[in-house]
Amino acid sequence: MADALSALASVYDAGPVGVTRATPGVTLQERPARNLVQLSGWPENFDTICDRIAALLGIRVPVDCLTVTTHDDLSIFRVGPMRLWFVSDTNSTRLSEFLGTLEAKDGVVTEINHSRTVLRIRGPEARTVLNRGLPIDLENGAFPEHVFVQSVIHHIPVLVHRLASPDDTVFDVYVPREYARSFWEWLINAAEPLGGQVLEVC
């Protein structure tokens, strides 16, 4: 299988951006292509499907919308009342097998793995740079780890996920692929006054 081409391929340059600081205020990094599958279920049996997921994949389905559960490499985002996103960096055979067992009466599966560009933003100024455009309170009490929001930055629809990190503030931002370059340009512009560092894709 060919490698998927990043939407940022022509504009992505690792290195410092903006003001020079001893320690970057924020690091920006594109996450490599990843598995992203959507499962949408039906009211009458969604709980049963969630139980099957927990049993087969060993991961609890988040009960509340806008929360994430993670086990090993696999994360489950509850993006809607009966809608889940399965996200992993590598192919999960068990996930593929499970999804393959589903029939339309159980729920529908939609491949959206090429639809998003994922950017990791971390560092002491991570909140600051996001709040240059994101109208969401990102402080610990309002936006703890394992929580995400779907909102808008610079008129671009985004999903912002706060990852668990013991000594750092880390967000993954999911941007529709066709907006990725516009978003990246906005992000670099916002990071420059804070002292940014673009890391190699990883």
């Binding site: 299988m1 060919a2 490698d3 998927a4 081409l5 990043s6 939407a7 391929a9 022509s10 903006g18 003001v19 292509a33 959507q38 949408s40 039906w42 809608r83 339309a104 009466k105 529908v108 939609t110 491949e111 959206i112 793995n113 090429h114 639809s115 998003r116 600051t128 709040n131 240059r132 455009g133 994101l134 109208p135 969401i136 309170d137 402080e139 309002a142 610079h154 008129h155 671009i156 529709p176 692929r177 066709e178 907006y179 990725a180 370059r181 516009s182 978003f183 340009e185 906005w186 512009n189 916002a190 420059e192 006054p193």
Partner: protein
């Protein structure tokens, strides 16, 4: 460079170790760090700083804050040129350059000051009355000259050199103003653990404490408060920031002047930042604004608010005058008198009140201030600055003209007419202040939910009362936010502060009559707009009685200062004229912004290509590298055409379209909306959404579908493919994708929640490319090996899945051009790889790449509808697709599509159009008219009855000028036009009443904007291959 002639030898909050050089009107001066431009000018003895708006009268510095109406200057230059900057708020930096405004040839010798001689003539309403005629358009001539004569600084047309940012902030409590009340509120709430944002317009915290001079305990209290504030990590302090707007949901708009105090921003530093803060609670500790007094010549340079004098003396160590008169109706100006005296000035104090407290009298006596009680300044005298004042006896209860008692020479007149609480933000939320007789001020009446007020804004005078008010408001906010318990302990903030001295009540005075036996002088109420007391009288006489009407007739309270120093004096004068209490006169409405805000900061980084974000296809970089010109559709940047060197747009698209018909071409269609419709009830759902049936569409087939709005008008069209039994792949137009997606979601969530269907936008997931032309199959066969692309294997409207090498592909045999064509989709990350493989294969098939313009030409030739035809007014029948609607099932819009007006046979219907005589211009948007109606206008005007046969526009001598002779909406319109490479002539699609029944008729196409009339002939919309043979060829 001049000596700082009025700089005090010691004191002030300036840094004398950091001298700064600046220029005003080309002359170089020196100031210190901590100065404002205004204080530096005061320190250098500069009095004349501007000319007034209308009369070009000399003006000096009146205030020390954002309310300044006079000292507006133009700062910086070139791409950083900024007019109308209040010198009182411009922090001094080394190299600052400022020039005065609204004068020619110089500030000192302004030719337009002659206008002042005729000031009686140029009263309120002068322009409205004088420049009404003789014609309706005459104003447009006058306006140019009037605007040149009046006004403030000139804007620049050079693009702004600076950058701006936007930001969002959140807090439990927003405290507006960092004077004693604001500091106390922030510390109190901070101790309780609230997330607090404390906003201060000034560069330093402290508010009135910064200008308090030697007031007992003020300096120590401030220092202690700042130390504690610094230790509270949950309190964020934002200086040089102004809350200029309060909006719904406790949302506030702020402007942070990040680098206005610098000559230019540091690298990557924005000039300003626009904040939107969302708060649970807000406390206004925004203090008060002092009012001037209204008397003759009260605008002379050297007339200054008493509080401002105190600021310049105590904070900036700048002495505004050496021989001062203080004129007041309240106690606050006595502190100014004392401070001036302590700074070495000779001081006389004039008070309209006959009695003051013994304490005040004792302080003045001790300071050596000469008192004139029960008196007023009848008028000030001087040319370009105040030189003396005439003192008259004055009884506030019975104001009357009186003879001059004495004349006092002076170079400074400090005035205080009382203080008005700054309640603008609450006013913006609909809480209008009301007049309070006791304090002679506009005070809060109702307090909006979520708000509180403290300190001067709440009428709490003195340090102790302000601190106590701040503590009370801070505790209330903590309680409201659920922090009712004990937080971090701290010293009681008001402990040890002295009680306020005994106060002699203010005596409101709204204007001082002219002294007897003197000529009347202008008494200004609104100094920025040159509105005098006599203008208010004139407005009342002429019937502009309401406060809102008076404001608009006289322009009082408008422009930069928004009447901050003039509103209440105007209300007082109006009340006197109307014989009513002020409370019944009413107040005008406060609206954002509280202070001037640059357009740049509201725009933020959203400029140029980032005015809106752009959507790019997976193959965008390739298009860019090939030199494509782009067009935008629904934020998408789509390749418009690919010009060869030297080619025009028309030459390029005509070449591309012809190439497709001759051989094969490829176009990027990734921008088409793509929606997965999935679930056991997906077929039923589509059946209800589309006008035509989808239930029986076999797996592996696509079908063209049209969906209507609920009102029966066509919403969008596209093809939908059945991928599996429960999975459909819908495509929409590029511009209609969002609308269709919302429509489908809305129906599923509200109308048919029982249907087990999910819709997901997969526009981002797929790259799409269309290969069209006689040799299209040849190209695909060279790339895709596991799909039978023969007519049998992949028939017209067939859908197949396979691979192009290792790339997965979905192939739809559908055509927009009328040629044999395929749409090929692959996951977006593989889009570029597939595109290049097809390009490589295309070399052997003479394939070109074409853009949206050629795509449009091809579809118009074929008679396919698109954006121009789906324009929100057309029905299915209008498009000639009435028979497509199923009669066996209901569908959205089906019922209302049967309304009388929707099935009117005279509705315009889709037709093709051509130039009737080969002459003229076809334009999209042209109105189609019946030639027989061409002379309607002549008849309407009572002219002679025209010839029954209209002249032919192509006839020699025919002038399509003024007119076409047509009026009204015509009988239809032209929706799309193109040059047809296939037919070698201009063609168009349009809608015309009667539709194809008019085939062969000649009608008029009128384009009023260019005054054009073109004869066109109605023809079939299917210009190319009407039988569809090429689709299958």
């Amino acid at each position: 460079m001049t000596r700082q002639s009025n700089r005090l030898q010691s004191g002030g909050r300036i840094d004398r170790s950091k001298p700064l050089s600046f220029s005003f009107d080309g002359k170089t001066y020196q100031g210190y760090a901590g100065d404002t431009l205004a204080s530096a000018l005061v320190a250098n003895g500069v009095r004349l700083v501007g000319r007034s708006f209308k009369y070009h009268r000399p003006r000096g510095i009146l205030t020390a804050g954002i309310e300044e109406p006079n000292a507006l200057v133009t700062m910086r230059g070139g791409a950083r040129h900024e007019p109308n900057v209040a010198a009182t708020k411009a922090e001094l930096y080394d190299g600052l350059e400022a020039v005065s405004q609204n004068r020619w040839p110089s500030l000192k010798h302004d030719m337009m000051s002659v206008v002042g001689l005729f000031s009686k003539l140029f009263a309120a309403g002068f322009y409205y009355k004088t420049f009404m005629g003789p014609t309706r358009g005459a104003w447009m001539v006058y306006e140019h000259f009037i605007r040149k004569a009046a006004g403030m600084g000139d804007p620049t047309t050079v693009p702004d050199a600076d950058t701006y940012e936007k930001a969002h902030g959140f807090c439990d409590l927003l405290v507006v103003g960092a004077g004693p009340a604001g500091l106390a509120a922030a510390i109190t709430a901070g101790r309780r653990g609230l997330r607090v944002i404390l906003v201060e317009d000034d560069a330093q915290l402290g508010g009135s404490l910064l200008e308090a001079g030697g007031d007992a305990g003020a300096g120590e209290w401030l220092q202690s408060a700042l130390i504690e504030l610094d230790a509270l990590p949950n309190v964020r302090v934002m200086t040089r920031t102004c809350v200029f707007g309060a909006y719904d949901g406790m949302t506030f708009a702020l402007i942070e002047r990040v680098s206005d105090h610098l000559k230019e921003p540091a690298p990557f530093q924005p000039r300003q930042r626009y904040w939107r803060i969302r708060a649970e609670r807000a406390i206004l500790a925004s203090g008060q604004i002092e009012r001037p007094l209204v008397f003759g010549n009260n605008d002379l340079p050297g007339v200054m608010l008493a509080g401002a004098v105190r600021t310049y003396v105590n904070r900036h160590a700048a002495l505004p005058g050496r021989k001062a008169v203080v004129f007041t109706n309240n106690d606050s100006a006595y502190a100014t008198a004392a401070d001036l005296r302590a700074a070495g000035a000779d001081v006389s104090l004039v008070d309209v009140r006959s009695h003051i407290s013994g304490d005040l009298r004792e302080r003045m006596n001790r300071s050596g201030v000469e008192l004139h009680l029960g008196c007023a300044v009848g008028r000030a005298n001087g040319g370009r600055q105040v030189a003396s004042v005439d003192i008259v006896p004055f009884d506030p209860a019975r104001p009357a003209r009186a003879a001059i008692r004495t004349r006092l020479t002076c170079d400074l007149l400090a005035v205080s007419g009382g203080w008005t609480p700054t309640l603008h933000l609450m006013g913006q939320r609909g809480a209008k202040p009301v007049y309070d007789e006791a304090s002679a001020a506009l005070v809060a009446n109702t307090i909006p939910e979520g708000f509180d007020i403290a300190g001067g804004a709440a009428g709490e005078d003195g340090l102790k009362a302000s601190v106590a008010g701040g503590v009370r408001a801070g505790e209330a906010a903590a309680k409201a936010c659920g922090q009712d318990g004990q937080g971090a302990q701290g010293r009681p903030l008001a402990d040890g502060l002295a009680d306020a001295p005994e106060v002699t009540p203010i005596t409101p005075v709204w204007q001082i009559p002219h002294p007897l036996n003197t000529r009347a002088r202008k008494k200004f109420v609104d100094l920025q707009h040159d509105v005098g007391a006599e203008d208010l009288e004139l407005a009342q006489r002429e019937g502009y009685v309401s406060v809102e009407h008076t404001k608009r007739y006289t322009t009082l309270g408008m422009a930069n200062d928004q009447g901050k120093t003039s509103n209440l004096n105007a209300l007082g004068i109006m009340a006197g004229l109307r014989g009513q209490p002020i409370a019944e006169v009413g107040t005008t409405t406060f609206r954002p912004p509280y202070r001037p805000v640059s357009i740049g900061v509201l725009t933020g980084p959203e400029t140029g290509l980032h005015f809106k974000p752009s959507r790019r296809s997976p193959m965008h970089d390739w298009h860019e590298a090939q030199g494509a010109d782009f067009t935008t559709t629904g934020l998408w940047l789509r390749p418009w055409y690919f010009p060869n060197p030297g080619e025009t747009r028309a030459e390029a698209y005509i070449r591309e379209a012809a190439h497709v018909r001759r051989a094969v071409g490829m176009v990027d269609v990734s921008s088409l909306g793509k929606i997965d419709v999935q679930g056991p009830d997906a077929a039923e759902f589509l059946n209800r959404v589309y006008v035509n049936g989808f239930k029986k569409l076999p797996v592996g087939k696509a079908r063209y579908g049209v969906m209507l709005r609920p009102d029966g008008i066509v919403m969008d069209d596209g093809t939908t493919s059945r991928i599996s039994q429960d999975h459909y792949f819908m495509t929409t137009t590029t511009g209609g994708a969002g609308k269709v997606m919302s429509h489908l979601e809305f129906l599923l969530q509200t109308a048919w929640p029982d249907l087990r269907v999910h819709v997901t936008s997969v526009t981002s997931q797929w790259a799409g490319m269309a290969i069209a032309g006689p040799r299209s199959r040849e190209v695909l066969e060279g790339v895709i090996s596991d799909i039978d692309l023969s007519d049998e294997g992949t028939p017209f409207m067939g859908v197949r899945h396979g691979h192009a090498g290792d790339l997965p592909v979905r192939v739809l045999r559908i055509s927009f051009s009328g040629e044999r064509a395929y749409e090929v989709y692959t996951p977006a990350g593989y889009g570029m790889a597939l595109w290049q493989r097809l390009l490589e294969q295309g070399k052997s098939c003479d394939m070109c790449v074409y853009g949206v313009e050629a795509l449009g030409a091809l579809r118009i030739e074929k008679g396919h509808v698109a954006g121009g035809e789906l324009e929100g007014r057309t029905t299915l029948a209008d498009m000639g697709l009435g028979r497509m609607a199923s009669t066996k099932k209901p569908f959205i819009g089906g019922a209302l599509a049967q309304r009388e007006g929707m099935i009117d046979p005279d509705r315009p219907q889709l037709v093709g159009l051509e130039l009737a005589n080969g002459a003229g211009t076809l334009r999209a948007g042209a109105i189609l008219c019946d030639p027989a109606a061409r002379y309607t206008r002549a008849i309407a005007r009572g002219g002679s009855i025209p010839e029954p046969v209209a002249p032919n526009p192509a006839d020699k001598g025919f002038t399509p000028g003024n007119g076409s002779g047509h009026m009204g909406h015509g009988i239809g319109f032209v929706s799309s036009v193109t040059w047809s490479p296939e037919l070698n002539r201009n063609i168009a699609l349009g809608y015309v009443s009667g539709g194809m029944a008019r085939k062969g008729e000649q009608i008029d196409a009128v384009f009023p904007m260019y005054d054009e009339l073109t004869a066109v002939r109605v023809t079939s919309p299917h210009f190319v291959d009407p039988e569809g043979e090429r689709l299958h060829g």
